[in-house]
Amino acid sequence: MTQIDYDIAFGAISTGVDEINLSQPEGAKISKDPDAVLFGEDSKLDSVGLVQVVMAAEAHLAEQTGVDVVLASEAAMSRKRSPYRSLRLLAEYAVEVATEGEAA
């Protein structure tokens, strides 16, 4: 089992985004800029698209690190606190969830 740090989390999430982008039409592909808006105003993703990204991110994190994380969040729809606003926040959230899991 590999410890999850930001770079590992971001890498796994990026792989998930690559996978989703394979089936996205040109113009609707998800940016891999860590600070681009992932979900929220001006986002190309609807809620189903966000679920797909999160599902792929969890699966790649589990595959690459052996760590089972659930990236569900009560704050999903919050503009200020949502971990789904950008890939950077999602990767940071994954590290936070994985760390909590280790402590439990």
Binding site: Q52, M55, A56, E58, A59, E63, D68, V69
Partner: protein, 235 residues
């Protein structure tokens, strides 16, 4: 990730009763069966994996489903069979009973639906069958907590059916009448007779009756059937 050639079905509550029966049937049919219960299982078969867990333990459920992904690479179906009952007058029922029943019947069902749908969604195909009960529409006295927990399962089934449709996953529920298992073993025969008399077809249900409904929901041709609860016995 290895992809099993066999269809893979997850069944909760497989140590005994209906869950055990359903596991044996799907193993005979050549499926890979992944089961779980709070205790160990004596079901031994090359195509059966058993996990000891509490279905309301979020971490354990997540871990199990990720392991299913690693081992088999797919999940075709989920039967959310695990359940516990409580038969008691509401005024004599402690709050702790309500928590325990809701944890297994509602939280467990939700967690397995959520994690199964993630795995199913990757292949855009999946069939989920939840377990309701005729105690809900019959509004049975003495089963307030159990009936309410299963009403929540029906509601989850209806909403999840809509949320999971985009991922090719159907979500339905079967509502069995009493089937002679441990779950109804503690109820008096008189009470059971009175309950069965309220069915259109007044007899105990059988495990085959439950399987028949599961089979219908699981068929590939049932892709347009979702969000439904099918009660047995004409209730």
């Amino acid at each position: 990730m290895n992809m099993s050639e066999k269809p893979v079905i997850a069944i909760t509550g497989t140590r005994k009763g209906i869950g055990r029966y359903l596991s044996e049937v799907f193993l005979e049919r050549g499926w890979q069966v992944v089961g779980c219960s709070r205790g160990a299982s004596d079901l031994e078969h090359a195509a059966y994996d058993h996990y000891e867990l509490d279905v309301s333990d979020e971490r354990a459920v997540t871990k199990m489903m990720h392991q299913v992904a690693r081992d088999h690479g797919r999940l075709d179906a989920l039967l959310n069979n695990a359940g516990i009952a409580s038969m008691n007058h509401a005024m004599l029922t402690p709050g702790s009973t309500m928590i325990r029943v809701f944890q297994t019947n509602v939280f467990g069902t939700f967690l397995f639906c959520r994690e199964a749908a993630k795995l199913m969604g990757r292949r855009k195909y999946g069939r989920i069958v939840n377990f309701a009960t005729v105690a809900t529409p019959l509004k049975l006295e003495g089963e307030a907590v159990y009936a309410a927990s299963k009403a929540a399962v029906v509601s989850l089934t209806e909403v999840l059916a809509r949320e999971f449709a985009a991922f090719g996953v159907t979500v339905n529920a079967v509502g069995p009448t009493p089937v002679p298992t441990d779950l109804v073993g503690s109820v008096s025969k008189d009470k059971m007779r009175a309950l069965i008399a309220r069915q259109a077809i007044p007899r105990y249900g059988t495990m085959e009756d439950v399987l028949n409904v599961c089979d219908f929901f699981l068929r590939e041709e049932s892709e347009f059937v979702t969000g439904q609860t099918l009660y047995l016995g004409g209730v």
